[in-house]
């Protein structure tokens, strides 16, 4: 498991664990103020190399996740699936698990089926 090496409360620090796996340790709250940064970091980490097969977000140090934060996780999941990259949330804490179960997104976010996003008419 990768944990954030620095103490930046909102930082998501990338570290390439294997040849094809990108791990990001989430640290601090994921909310309206910080979700933009996470999206950016994920995008950068996935664009660093072309052969990424798996994206693993480590939630051990994750604080409060609000509705915008959940929306961001869903966005990352959707983008990863579209790019054919596996999506995993590791070390889901009780609060996050509760939120995911309440919103019925636990199964969705744990499965990384490569579904296409809906198309607009």
């Amino acid at each position: 498991m990768t944990t954030s090496p620095d103490a930046d409360p909102t930082a998501a620090s990338p570290s390439v664990a294997g040849p094809h796996i990108v791990r990001l340790a989430l640290d601090g709250d994921l909310d309206y103020d910080t979700c933009g940064e996470l999206l950016l970091r994920v995008r950068l980490a996935l664009h660093e190399r072309a052969d990424v097969e798996d994206l693993r977000l480590d939630c051990r140090e994750l604080g409060v996740v609000d509705s915008t934060g959940l929306s961001t996780l869903l966005q990352i999941h959707r983008s990863a699936c579209q790019a054919g990259i596996g999506f995993h949330l590791d070390n889901i804490g009780p609060a996050l698990k509760r939120l995911l179960e309440l919103t019925g997104t636990y199964e969705h976010l744990s499965s990384s089926q490569r579904t296409a996003a809906p198309t607009d008419e």
């Binding site: 309206y32 609000d66 509705s67 915008t68 959940l70 929306s71 961001t72 869903l74 966005q75 959707r78 179960e101 309440l102 919103t103 019925g104 997104t105 969705h108 579904t115 996003a117 809906p118 198309t119 607009d120």
Partner: protein, 540 residues
């Protein structure tokens, strides 16, 4: 204070050095007559003759006339500018050395003018940026233009209607508001300036071609008239009309530059004010549409709702509720309470879509899961993963009880407040709306005896951060306890009390939108019908 360039020489030696000096030099004798002048001086001062009096330029003649302690002076010679420095000669008399300072002087004049312009533009920027009110921006523009650029000024703003707003600052500096009295195309160049694109330069137009409404009362004859477009942020901000009494064909080059800089500042301020006003109108309109309805008793069931928008977004928020009374195709009342992820206008737009779609789906309300599935399909988009969570409650009065079908879609389950003081969670859950390819939901069937309540709420209640240290979440346990204290109260009182307790918990802390709705089986009207077999107490 005086020193001679040829201090140690004789008078003759000085004269020789003066003759070869690179500057014009005039030697004035003690008697005030010109003793000698070198070639450069005779070119510069053609009227000066040795032996005669120096008469021109007058400033030098005056200085030279003063024999005691001559000091440096300066002034114009023809169209040039010189300073004259005196050297008292040992033999008596004074040699005046003339130094051409035309360029220095014009630079100083220019510097002074530039300072004034900069000061004006700074003043304009400060005055213009002080307000996001369009009328006020127009006033400031007209006033500043009258002070610095013209004798009177008109500012005309574009408008979607045929009436163009106009602010006039007349020759006495008085401001008046009005609308353009005639069609804009009667003023040459005005239509183009108001259109803003393609950019047109300032135009000087024939003052006699100007319609009468253009000229302020008592202005007198218009000497010249210019129309300058006010460029905005990609949108036309309006036109500035300058009136001058003096006949001038056009601005000088510098005036032109300054007018352009001023117009750019005024235009930016006015278009910012316009955008702000438009945005305000949009959010006002949206707010009117999105504000939660006032609830009341519907078909013998009490409904009460309370909504406290987040301070961050003010007015339009992401929480909503609605109560739809039964209609032709749907026999039950449908209550909806929900929460859209995100903040501000984007959340408000999604909220509006969800409420409208749900309204259209009312005939499907007999099957909540189907209704949610249709709603999910309608809301799903590839643009974003913004979602909504909500609770549906189909409500029907059955004798003295109220029968509910309650479905939570990704939302905290409603609390059921029983007459005996217990508070239980409705047994329902489901997936959020708007992101997942498929949704699932489980509907709870709940029966409320008179005086019992089903309490719907958004996570703004349970996640309200406050308490003694200001960092503790209100949480479900506290909400349940608060609800238990309200058992038996009417719907409106319950909502008010929950809101009050939440507000006390929050103190002055930041909070998300907070929405609460109570659905209560009334006990009042059937008090006399107690037959001993029904549940609950019948006294308040």
């Amino acid at each position: 204070m005086t020193s001679s360039p040829a201090r140690h020489g004789t008078g003759a030696a000085s004269a020789v050095s003066a003759a070869t000096a690179p500057y014009p030099v005039v030697v004035i004798g003690a008697d005030g007559h010109v003793v000698e002048l070198n070639d450069a001086a005779s070119v510069l001062l053609p009227t000066a003759r040795p032996g005669g009096r120096l008469r021109s330029p007058s400033w030098l003649a005056t200085a030279a006339g003063r024999t005691a302690r001559p000091v440096s002076v300066s002034g114009a010679v023809g169209d040039r500018f010189f300073s004259a420095h005196p050297s008292v000669l040992p033999a008596g008399g004074v040699a005046w050395w003339l130094v051409d300072e035309t360029e220095l002087q014009s630079l100083l004049v220019e510097l002074e003018a530039e300072r004034e312009r900069t000061q004006f533009l700074n003043q304009a920027s400060t005055a213009l940026s002080a307000s996001l009110n369009l009328d006020r921006c127009m006033e400031v523009t007209a006033r500043l233009a009258t002070e610095y650029l013209a004798d009177a000024a008109l500012v005309i703003a574009p408008s979607a209607t045929s009436k163009l707003p106009m602010v006039v600052c007349d020759q006495r500096g008085r401001i008046s508001h009005g609308t353009v009295a005639g069609p804009p195309d009667t003023v040459p160049g005005l239509t183009e300036a108001l259109r803003g694109f393609p950019p047109v330069p300032s135009q000087w137009i024939d003052p006699t071609a100007a319609p009468r409404w253009l000229v302020p009362d008592g202005f007198g004859e218009v000497g010249s008239l210019a129309i300058t477009p006010l460029p905005g942020h990609g949108v036309p901000a309006g036109a500035l009309i300058l009136l001058r009494r003096v006949r001038k064909v056009a601005f000088t080059e510098r005036e032109e530059v300054m007018a352009r800089l001023f117009a750019a500042r005024a235009g930016a301020a006015m278009s910012a004010a316009r955008l702000y006003a438009e945005q305000n109108t949009i959010s006002d309109t949206l707010m009117r549409e999105l504000l939660p309805p006032t609830l009341r008793q519907v078909e013998g069931v009490e409904f009460a709702g309370g909504y406290r928008p987040s301070k961050d977004t003010e007015r339009v928020g992401g929480d909503f509720y609605d109560v739809h009374p039964p209609g032709e195709d749907f026999p039950e009342t449908l209550a909806v309470l929900g929460d859209v992820a995100g903040k501000g206008l984007e959340a408000a737009v999604l909220t509006g879509r969800i409420r409208n779609t749900l309204h259209a789906l009312l005939p499907m309300a007999d099957d909540h899961t189907k209704m949610l599935r249709l709603l999910n399909n309608a809301m799903r988009t590839s643009h974003h993963t913004r979602f909504a969570t909500l609770v549906l409650a189909s409500v029907r009065r059955e004798e003295r009880d109220v029968a509910l079908r309650v479905t939570a879609a990704g939302h905290p389950a409603p609390l059921i407040m029983r007459s005996d003081g217990t508070v239980e969670e409705a047994d329902t859950n489901g997936t959020l709306i708007g992101v997942l390819p498929a949704v699932t939901a489980r509907t709870a069937h709940v029966r409320l005896a008179p005086g019992e309540t089903c309490l719907l709420f958004t996570d703004g209640v349970t996640e309200a951060k406050g308490g003694p240290l200001g960092d503790t979440m209100f949480g479900e346990q506290r909400l349940r306890r608060a609800a238990a204290e309200c058992v038996g109260m009417p719907a409106a009182a319950i909502v008010e009390r929950i809101q009050m307790i939440t507000a006390q918990w929050l103190g002055v802390g930041r909070h998300d939108d907070i929405a609460v709705m109570a659905i209560t089986a009334p006990r009042g009207s059937h008090l006399s019908a107690v037959d001993g077999t029904t549940r609950g107490r019948y006294t308040a």
